[in-house]
Subunit: 330 residues, 2 copies
Amino acid sequence: MTGWQHIAGQDDLNLDLIHRAEKLIAPYIMNTPVLRSPELDNSSGARLFFKCENLQHTGAFKFRGAIHALLNLTAAQRKAGVYTVSSGNHGAALAAAGRILNISVQVAVPTNAPSVKKQNIAQNGADIIEIEPGMAAREAFVAANQQQSERIFIPPYNHPLIMAGQGTAALELVKAVPELQVLMSPLGGGGLLSGTAMVGHSQNMAVFGVEPELANDAWLSLQAGSIQSARPPISICDGLLTNLGDHTFPIIQNYVDAVLLVSEDEVIVAMQQLWQALKVIVEPSAATVFAAVCKYPEHFSGKAVGLILSGGNLDVACLPWPVTRLEKAK
Amino acid sequence: MTGWQHIAGQDDLNLDLIHRAEKLIAPYIMNTPVLRSPELDNSSGARLFFKCENLQHTGAFKFRGAIHALLNLTAAQRKAGVYTVSSGNHGAALAAAGRILNISVQVAVPTNAPSVKKQNIAQNGADIIEIEPGMAAREAFVAANQQQSERIFIPPYNHPLIMAGQGTAALELVKAVPELQVLMSPLGGGGLLSGTAMVGHSQNMAVFGVEPELANDAWLSLQAGSIQSARPPISICDGLLTNLGDHTFPIIQNYVDAVLLVSEDEVIVAMQQLWQALKVIVEPSAATVFAAVCKYPEHFSGKAVGLILSGGNLDVACLPWPVTRLEKAK
């Protein structure tokens, strides 16, 4: 038998697991910088501290969870190799982590994944298998692999070891900025937010997750008290289209103050403002948090707010705002 | 009498002055991160360490020199206020430094300066005076101010205190990455490169400056043995259009191994590659160094190379490569 359930560390996510993850992955990850902007502070009315996981290896926080999962494999599991299904950042992160630890990685990629994200996976040395988009094809692929392969499935978010790895970003942030009163992260499958919430809650900070109105499955899930799907989940935020999982949902229920919704237009405006002011490239998913700060001042005004900028993987020749051509000299 | 010549620290630039600058400005500046990219290492054949001065306060290394100059003013000079002439990054840096130290700042800006850079100056609280482009209007403005105002002139690069401040970026870089064999910086007026060269030379590293072919005044100056102008200096690299000064030229003559020239097209390609791989926004001037690494492998192949990314101030809605529209979900 193979499968993610056979990775060590099956307990629920807890703060100690995040602290242990931090020590374990420290030699491999970048303790990413925390940036500030007087201009964005002024325009938002809050004191904003941006944790730049877009500058993390492979351009997203996903590398933290991926390397943490692989570091917890047994020698036999390492030898068998791993696989996952990912439309982008998790796949690239797992590929890079596998290369560093000399573990074979296979990534099933939906045919509609952004080409930059596919390239990112391939450049990091993983084998790519194309599958149809959607949960059905994904589950069929995983089921087939579990029967036919010795490889270990490394899920993108719904596992305590992955969630603990993602939580180390928040841990670094609160250590760097002890005066924080609020923590925020984007919310897709809930891996990043659950780790962030566990850390924020332990320090008596308010914690918010942000998701697109058009992929509001987590918001619906909290309303309903059970995991819901947004159908169809569509958004420019291609990293936030997944549903919650049975590991991430209860953490978010218990430790997140609220899920805030932002529109596509609000994400685009926020993304351009972040590029212009911070001089870093964030993908749409990452811009949701700043969009929410601007939209819901009642939660943030006058406060010290930590925002996790989750990733920066997109094609810089394909942008969601109108761009004129800067002419070169002749 | 007023004028830059009355700032303390008239000695020539030396390594000790840079070390003292580092201590003095440390509480005010950001020790900017050093980024790496396996992808850019692969494509260049060198090991590249990017010092991200685009993430420095006000988006450029210029803040280092500006705050260093102001910290060396007497109490009377601080009270009188300061002024400068700048098409962008130095003006914004001086404005921000003045605001922090409660010193009044006036910036004369050529009418052809990029509007984003003008905004950056105004946002940081300086008084802006528009003047005609070109050295003549600039010199007339300074001469008039010296007669009519008690304000101190803070030059953009041609002063040991400014050069020492800029050299602290290289000092931080070589401390963070002791194995460096080569240091590189863009070359405009020579403030950044002279500080960088002094630091690199002290560690037996090769040092290269990079300038655009269309603004090759420093390259011409080294050939001629005296300061030359490129006429007219035109380039997409709006930060590199100035001539060398009598303080920067001799340092560059003595401590820089070579000035490398890059074309406008090479700058644009390098800039897009840096955005895509590093997830940071660099302006054209800053991309020159990576363009040179790709163009002149004989100097860099197989070596550990430190590149100073000088700044990131540009309008992200006006880019030098073709951009298609990423459509939002509806």
